[in-house]
Subunit: 198 residues, 2 copies
Amino acid sequence: MTFEGPVQRLIDELSRLPGVGRKSAQRIAFHVLSVEEEDARRLAQSIIDVRDQVGTCVRCFNVTSTEECSICRDPRREVGVLCVVERAQDIAVVERSQEFRGRYHVLGGALSPIGGVGPSELHIAELAVRVGAEDIKELILATNPTVEGDVTAMYLAREMKPLGVKVTRLAMGLPVGGDLDYADELTLGRALQGRQEM
Amino acid sequence: MTFEGPVQRLIDELSRLPGVGRKSAQRIAFHVLSVEEEDARRLAQSIIDVRDQVGTCVRCFNVTSTEECSICRDPRREVGVLCVVERAQDIAVVERSQEFRGRYHVLGGALSPIGGVGPSELHIAELAVRVGAEDIKELILATNPTVEGDVTAMYLAREMKPLGVKVTRLAMGLPVGGDLDYADELTLGRALQGRQEM
């Protein structure tokens, strides 16, 4: 059964969102119908606002509602170290660790020969310019621990090292609090390769 | 870390939706940022539309964008049998079974002494009026198989039977395709009570 016009259209729109299935979409649609008028309008407005007011940082390609993002504008951030991430939302993950005080560079994805994503589709040229112009000493590659992330990291290392910058990558190994029993063989292999003297 | 103004506000709004956690909200927000402008606006508009155009059916309290809902207006639906559900979205579940060709009545919830929901908070008076006015022969109670749903069903049976209508309730028992091993004792108890001669 489909619902009447506007209800079904909202369910269809919600179903397109990542991680929202048919059932959740229906649940959310009826939630939207049941909440205060004002709450529903605020949700709609926040979608419009994010599109009207948010763009990408001219320097690092993070999301921002100003020309440069709040991290690039922050004078307390260390200059000389850039953490290179695939997507803007990865910045939040690195920030939560509270281990990094430098600035970022968002690639806009990862290299994927199968997906047709080459170096020119990513903000790699802009990274090279920054390395020279901002006197960057180290690039910390925080691409995903996936095939695409690996390929991207290797490509970046090859391209950036000749510019005289140190290139490092996040360590791969056992997740903290994890159980050795549940570690997959690839992760365990990386943990062995990256073992550290105590 | 929080994101810049409009992004964080959208994440906050999305987090309020049922079944959407912090992480999903963030994922959806960045999805909204990355899709075509037009797609984002259509999502926002469909939220506005559902609030502007959708109300409740004057007869059965289903959601509708007209005075009576499409089911109440459908001349092919059997009159004389009403399926009584807690919420409008339950109608979709019953419809999917394709076993019911009558019409519906939405209570708007279930009785809950703890939650402060009494008979006057539900569309029970309107149901009594319909039973008389529409010459209803049978009420099929499809309230949830929960304590509140049970209480509501018992209350309705007591109130409606004196009006000369047959009152039935959906059978409780083993879910089709389920495994006896996984049936909880309450369900198995109900399945035993409701056993049918073969």
